[in-house]
């Protein structure tokens, strides 16, 4: 009996597996030439009636009450059609490709561009008739490009940009030298030089470290690719070829990227060993608050964490909550990133300055291909990305709009970031799935680079050539990770 079952199992499995049977080429019933445009196939312009739209929103938007205001306003506008938008009640990072085919996914989702665009390959999201949207022209081309993809030989926009996420410089105004207006403001523009360019920030950091008080100037965990890669981009490096769409070409070592790596190496020399691992990422908020660090680079969404820590610090010194918070808000300044020296030499006096191209992301709305109501979903996306809702989102969440009218109306940091985006100084994170293979090789390089600043006799990176070779190894690792096992 056992032998019989054994033979039966072996026969059934081996027939299929060992011969590799089955069609080598799937019969594809689609004939692209006979297809109509996908947009006309999906959207007929008639709103579906009496439908419920499940919306996947960002957790902060739900917690801060923005999402409720959004769906209430939408539901009021479309009540005559019986369209009701509700919270999809799912994890904000849930994977549509896993849930959608089985009917569990949302109808509309709000995620970062790299998350949304990974759904394009399997057509898990619908393209969007972007050019027919009222606010199309308010969104810069760089933002739209993050959602552009070619499918079946045609270019489509797969989402609508809402916010920009990128790095900013956070610093303590009260830790500026008392004489900054006379000695640290060469161009007399009432902005301290050390937050305007990296050479002065380096010089100021060095002076703080050399004072022997145990304090530091600029601090950042350098392993973090999101914040460190911008230094490579600024001197000609890039992630993938053809504007981050071609994984056949990896270019972190391209141009003079090694000069950017050398800038990081110089910055590490005015930090301590905590720049090697994630220590500064973890304790940066409290160290800025207690005055150990003068400045660090991070994303604007953590502003409230800095304020919370600084308020607590002031409260410890005997201040009341309100006055402590007010003082914290006054002393913590968020500004654009300092300019880099074109030469890459942070010790150069009066250098020619170039902008730092920081890595960023564009969050936006997309429509699931598993929705039963594509027209109503499109109406929701159009409503949620209208000027009024973008302004409300900015007001409640402090997010930076990717729409020119809203950014201009908001002013301040929003306008700075938006201008950086328009001018191409924000390198939007690649929207192709191969991006997942970039992190570990690049993280290893930046960790090694930071470590090198603290090695004594066995330094690895003593010349620009060695830095270039190090970056070439990273490029090769990324290429291998992507292509070695690809089918």
């Amino acid at each position: 009996m056992k032998r019989f079952f054994g033979i039966l199992l072996v026969v059934l499995l081996t027939v299929g597996q060992l011969t590799g049977c089955g069609p080598t080429e799937a019969v594809n019933e689609k004939d692209p030439s006979a297809q109509t445009d996908a947009l006309t196939s999906i959207y007929n312009g008639e709103l579906e009636r009496n439908v419920t739209l499940r919306i996947l929103e960002n957790d902060t938007a739900i917690e801060q009450g923005y999402f409720k205001q959004l769906i209430d306003a939408f539901n009021e506008k479309y009540k005559d059609y019986g369209i009701v938008a509700v919270d999809a009640n799912m994890d904000q990072r849930s994977n549509l490709a896993d849930d959608g085919p089985y009917g569990y996914g949302p109808d509309v989702l709000y995620q970062a561009n790299d998350s949304i665009m990974k759904y394009v390959e399997g057509k898990h999201i619908y393209p969007i008739p972007a050019e027919s949207l009222e606010h199309y022209s308010q969104i810069p081309e760089h933002a739209w490009d993050a959602y552009k993809s070619e499918v079946d030989g045609k270019a489509y926009y797969m989402g609508v940009p809402v916010n920009v996420q990128t790095s900013m410089l956070f610093y303590r105004k009260d830790m500026l030298p008392k004489d900054w207006e006379t000695n640290w403001d060469k161009n007399k523009n009432k902005v301290p030089d050390m937050v305007e360019n990296w050479n002065d920030l380096y010089k100021y950091s060095k002076s703080i470290v050399e004072s022997g008080t145990g304090k530091y100037g600029y601090m950042r965990s350098l392993y973090d690719v999101y914040f460190s890669s911008g230094f490579l981009f600024s001197y000609g490096g890039y992630i993938f070829g053809n504007q981050n769409t071609n994984p056949e070409e990896v270019g972190l070592s391209a141009g003079n990227a090694e000069v950017g790596a050398n800038v990081l190496l110089q910055l590490a020399s005015v930090m301590n060993e905590e720049s090697i691992d994630d220590s500064i990422t973890v304790n940066g908020y409290s160290k800025i608050a207690d005055g150990t660090y003068f400045a660090m680079m991070t994303t604007p969404d953590v502003y409230s964490l800095f304020i919370k820590e600084l308020t607590l610090e002031y409260e410890k010194k005997g201040m009341g909550t309100e006055s402590a918070k007010a003082l914290a808000e006054e002393n913590l300044v968020v500004t654009g990133l300092p300019l880099l020296p074109a030469s890459g030499d942070l010790t150069e006096e009066n250098p020619e300055l170039i902008p730092l191209k920081a890595m960023g992301g564009i969050n936006g709305y997309a429509i699931s291909a598993y929705t039963k109501a594509p027209n109503a979903s499109l109406a929701f996306v159009e409503f949620a990305t209208s000027y009024e809702m973008i302004m409300k989102r900015q007001e409640l969440l402090g997010s930076i709009p990717a729409h020119s009218d809203a950014a201009k109306a908001t002013g301040g940091v929003s306008e700075i970031v938006f201008n950086n985006l328009s001018e191409g100084n924000i390198v939007v994170m690649p929207s192709i799935t191969e991006m997942v293979q970039v992190w570990s090789p690049a993280e290893t390089f930046f960790t090694d680079l930071a470590k090198d600043a603290f090695r004594t006799s066995d330094k690895k990176y003593t010349s620009l050539e060695e830095l270039k070779n190090g970056l070439k190894v990273v490029d090769q690792q990324i290429y291998d990770a992507i292509h070695t096992l690809s089918n």
Binding site: M1, Q17, A26, K30, N283, Y370, L485
Partner: protein, 432 residues
């Protein structure tokens, strides 16, 4: 009993031709109808979807879904799963068919001996009495088949497909034979890294198993001493370490050994430079820390196990050895240790396999690094971590399944070898 040595009666032949017919001819209406119902269900399942599931198992789909143009297509992964289910159902059906023939034959023998065919009620009573093991094991066997065997068979099948990377549903998956294994074996970049990682993996598995086992046993022996006071409290401390989820402990240790962690803060306060316990240059230091942290997590369970086993050590034998002049070390090596080793060999093998495949320890302590001289791995990565970097990180389920099979072969061979050579296998009757 061999059914071919006797003459087969017409009722048995009837059961061979039609499931349950023989039973009906013996007047066993309930059982006959039950068998007929099983046959009807089987035929219905096969006709309605079984055969198409089987065809789908071989083709893995022929039409690709396109949501944009409303084209419904095949889901290769579901087809693979349903195909495996149908094959399992066929096997179940065949075994039921054979049981039907055997039952008819047993009834024939009973009748030939002058007995009467059992009624349905008598059969049920038998299942609750002398054949109770069948009743008791029925649900667990079904559970093990669905939750344990089916996923393994699915994983084995995936190793022979191109499922992964860019080929995930709605794209159609195909069978590729041994291509994945050939790819792993022939990639020139793989071999040096595989060798290095395998060597470290074996060293890690042996040393961590050895350390955990003897530290646990040592702790149990220590707390078993009558002179130790407050043993309950002392035993509770390691259990607390054991009770905290492993990954929380690992993240805690990662922080403790980081540059900004408390250990480096103490070192710096003493006027020394911070030490990179787990950083990019800390190959052996990180390996040692991994070994100790793993011991911190695992030793309590071994201690508890050894404490239980030590209560069964023959005290008279120890007393006799003492009278004969055996020193404590001799008593331990000749009486206590062989007894504990005999009882715990399967546990040691389990520990060895668990340590060999210990994914979390270096993933949480020192993940995210690719070292020079390694292909997409670091010098502390174990095979399971490398497998993650190569496959899961990249969604190459097929390669992941193929490497899993290779790891399975390695660990099963080592485990089998150790078990066969162990006293637990060789001297099974000694302690009975």
């Amino acid at each position: 009993m061999n059914m071919f040595t006797r003459k087969i009666g017409k009722n048995v032949i009837a059961s061979i031709c039609l499931m349950g017919l023989g039973q009906l001819m013996y007047g066993q209406i309930g059982k006959g109808l039950l068998y007929l119902a099983i046959l009807a269900c089987g035929v219905l399942y096969a006709a309605l979807r079984g055969f198409s599931d089987l065809a789908g198992f071989f083709t893995l789909g022929t039409k690709e879904k396109d949501a944009w143009f409303g084209i419904e297509g095949d889901n290769s992964v579901v087809m693979l799963l349903m195909g495996i289910l149908f094959i399992a159902a066929i096997m179940l059906f065949i075994s039921l068919y054979l049981s039907n023939i055997r039952d008819a034959y047993e009834t024939q023998i009973l009748v030939e001996k002058g007995g009467k065919p059992r009624t349905f009620l008598e059969d049920v009573k038998k299942l609750l009495d002398e054949k109770f093991y069948k009743t008791a094991l029925f649900l667990p066997v079904i559970g093990v088949s669905i939750f344990s065997i089916l996923p393994i068979v699915f994983m084995i099948a995936v190793a022979f497909t191109n499922y992964g990377g860019n080929i995930v549903p709605p794209k159609l998956v195909d069978w590729v034979g041994f291509k994945n294994f050939i790819q792993i074996a022939t990639l020139s970049k793989f071999a040096p890294t595989f060798g290095k990682i395998l060597n470290w993996n074996l060293l890690w598995a042996v040393s961590s198993t050895f350390l955990n086992y003897f530290a646990g046993l040592g702790l149990a022996l220590l707390l078993n001493k009558k002179c130790v006071r407050g043993t309950i409290i002392w035993r509770a401390f390691p259990i607390l370490a054991y009770a905290i989820p492993g990954f929380i402990t690992l993240l805690g240790f990662r922080f403790m050994f980081s540059y900004g962690g408390p250990i480096n803060q103490i070192i710096m306060d003493m006027g020394y430079r911070a030490i990179g316990f787990l950083d990019i240059d800390a190959k052996w230091m990180a390996r040692l820390i991994g070994l100790l942290v793993n011991a911190w997590i695992t030793v309590p369970s071994i201690m508890l196990l050894a404490t239980g086993i030590l209560t069964n050590v023959d005290v008279d034998q120890l007393e006799a050895a003492k009278i004969d002049g055996a020193k404590r070390w001799k008593q331990f090596t000749k009486i206590v240790f062989p007894f504990v080793l005999f009882s715990t060999t399967p546990v040691i093998i389990g520990q060895f396999i668990g340590n060999f495949n210990n994914f979390g320890i270096f993933f949480f302590l020192r993940g995210g690094l690719y070292m020079d001289g390694y292909f997409l791995a670091s010098d502390t990565d174990l095979l399971i971590n490398w497998l993650y970097n190569l496959s899961i990180n990249n969604n190459y389920y097929n390669i992941g399944a193929a490497i899993s099979l290779v790891i399975f072969l390695i660990t099963s061979m080592i485990s089998l070898l150790v078990y066969v050579k162990s006293p637990s296998y060789k001297e099974e009757d000694i302690y009975r």
